[in-house]
């Protein structure tokens, strides 16, 4: 199978080993594709699935690359482009919005000097608005690489949260 772009995109050997481990942790089961891709994404520092990795997963599981890309493009939690090391996912659903998560977004934008969807020049931070992740009891909340930080209703707490990210 030949990747559809001409740009050199060679699979990092270290990542290939990690992917092998992820696939065997899922018993090489092709129906676990969604879970496998999530784990691959978590193993990449910039939290995305490089094209070479997508093709490698397809080949290893014996599925078509189109199926892998159908899945990557369908699900919000999967990405085909590099993201920040720490993507601050702010809940944008009503339970957090009525607790003024808009103010939380504004504060984050000001503190990081960043617009929603942008990545800081060093690739460390970005801000995204996401649907409810079930932390409504601690709203307004932010989720970063799977960890939820709640009660972010003051600048002090927001700064505290940012300092914990390293």
């Amino acid at each position: 199978m030949k990747p559809f772009t001409q740009a050199a995109d060679v699979l990092d050997k270290e990542l290939a080993v990690k992917i092998d481990g992820i696939i065997s942790a899922h018993n090489g089961d092709a129906t676990q594709l969604v879970g496998i891709l999530l784990d691959v994404e978590a193993a990449v520092e910039r939290h995305y699935i490089p094209e070479s990795a997508a093709y490698y997963v397809a080949q290893k599981l014996g599925v078509k690359p189109t199926q892998v890309y159908d899945v990557i493009s369908f699900y919000t939690a999967l990405h085909d482009k590099p993201r920040a090391k720490f993507t601050l996912e702010v809940c944008n659903s009503a339970p957090c919005r009525v607790k003024d998560s808009d103010k939380l977004v504004e504060t984050l934008k000001r503190l990081l000097n960043l617009e929603v969807g942008e990545v800081t020049y060093d690739g460390r931070f970005s801000i995204e608005k996401v649907p409810c992740f079930g932390a409504c009891d601690v709203s307004p909340a932010v989720r970063v690489n799977g960890v939820v930080y709640g009660h972010l209703d003051s600048e002090e707490r927001i700064l505290d949260m940012l300092q914990q990210l390293n």
Partner: protein, 421 residues
């Protein structure tokens, strides 16, 4: 009537959720031993006799569901535990998965025995991925101890449980989209029929249940004294887990008897409004796809029938979102609409286009630039979406809007100068 009860949540904090031994020490798996001596239909009868309805949102009669699943012919069948809790404002399943994973597994094995399935699938949302290790370890411990695998406890039941992950798609909470996702594909809902009960995961007959529904089964089978039935009201017995969020003092998960009023939920359990300066404006029940309750309806009893009579969502996912006067009705509707515009999978036209156009009309209303024709179009589109969408997402996406149009008509009133133009 006591306002807080412990039936489904009876094990919370009583055992170490990472240890099977600890679960067994508080009587874990006695319900399974009892169930394995019963006939599958008898188990379904227990559910039916207690009037249990599904806890995911659709409120389908659970005894009936299991009996139908049992009757479907097929060499292989499966049970799916829907842990895709994507309905905004709902986090009760998170508590069950965190505090009592073994009770859920026990419920799933009993479901497998009752309907005659050989595989069980837990489909858990990506947002709860931190709970994956706990569940995987719980499954492994059950396999080791012989509660899963071949010939479970010498009953002849062969049954395995597999954990699958979602990846942030609300639509995957819908049965057929969920089935597609478990098969390793994009979660686009299928055309129905055939229904999931005949042709679901891997095109096998599939019985889909919510986390709370399955977790309810073990305590119910052991409930010889009829405690569950003694709770709630006569026409709606039992208890329910609710998630309270929004502008209240103590948001959180509570187990309540049916029949409690919405007022008691907001002011007693959740401690009332967080800021006394801002009184309650509305309560949304059942998540983003739920209807809106006006302050005048707060004394409605929280039962399937009571809610239906008051033209509210009949329990739904059990979400109770309390909103105070800092958020306007139209502002709230736009938040809900943003969610559905984002989550529509785009497969069918009514949902894909309907959401887009309704979002535009809501913007117009928020700016006060709408005419009566816009309001009529809004209602028409919302009605079309509810009748003509492919799956439950599109069918229920406009519940909040349609109920708001009934309960807060002044919000949609046309300003005079616009009417003249």
């Amino acid at each position: 009537m006591s306002k807080k009860v412990c039936f489904i949540t009876r094990n919370f904090g009583k055992y170490d959720p990472d240890s099977l031994k600890s679960y067994e020490s508080i009587g874990g798996f006695t319900a399974l031993r009892k169930a394995l001596k019963m006939d599958g239909n008898e188990i379904a009868d227990v559910l039916a006799a207690n009037g249990v309805q599904g806890r995911g949102g659709a409120a389908y009669d659970m005894g009936k569901k299991w009996r139908q699943a049992r009757e479907v012919k097929g060499e292989h069948k499966c049970v799916v535990c829907n842990a895709d809790e994507g309905e905004p404002g709902t986090f009760k399943d998170r508590e069950l998965l965190t505090n009592d994973p073994f009770q859920l597994l026990e419920g799933m094995i009993i479901a497998g025995w009752s309907v005659g399935a050989d595989n069980g699938y837990i489909y858990m949302r990506e947002e709860y991925s931190h709970l994956r290790p706990r569940l995987l370890s719980a499954i492994a411990q059950c396999e080791e101890a012989g509660y899963l695998g071949d010939n479970i406890l010498n009953s002849g039941l062969n049954y395995r449980i597999h954990l699958y992950s979602g990846a942030g798609a609300y639509v995957c909470g819908e049965g057929s989209a969920l089935s597609e996702s478990i098969e390793g594909k994009a979660g686009r809902p299928r055309m129905k029929p055939p229904f999931i009960k005949q042709c679901g995961v891997f095109h096998l007959p599939t019985c889909v249940n919510n986390v709370e529904s399955l977790s309810l089964v073990p305590p119910l089978l052991l409930d010889d004294e009829g405690y569950y039935k003694s709770q709630g009201t006569e026409d709606c017995p039992g208890t329910k887990m609710i998630s309270v969020s929004g502008n209240v003092k103590n948001p959180g998960v509570f187990e309540v008897p049916f029949g409690i009023t919405i007022r008691e939920i907001v002011y007693d359990l959740a401690g009332g409004m967080e800021n006394p300066e801002y009184p309650l404006r509305l309560v949304q029940l059942g998540g983003a796809s739920g209807r809106i309750c006006a302050p005048s309806q707060l004394d409605t009893p929280y039962t399937y029938k009571g809610m239906r009579q008051a033209d509210l969502t009949a329990i739904g996912s059990g979400a109770v979102l309390v909103v105070d006067e800092r958020t306007s009705v139209i502002g709230f509707l736009r938040m809900t609409q943003e969610f559905f515009s984002h989550e529509s999978c785009g497969q069918c036209t009514p949902c894909r286009e309907g959401n887009r156009h309704i979002a535009m009309l809501l913007d117009k209303i928020a700016a006060g630039e709408h005419t009566q024709k816009d309001v009529d179009t809004l209602k028409k589109f919302a009605d079309i979406m509810s009748c003509a969408s492919l799956c439950g997402l599109g069918e229920t996406a406009q519940s909040a809007l349609l109920s708001a149009m009934k309960r807060f008509p002044e919000v949609f009133a046309v300003k005079e100068e616009v009417a003249v133009r």
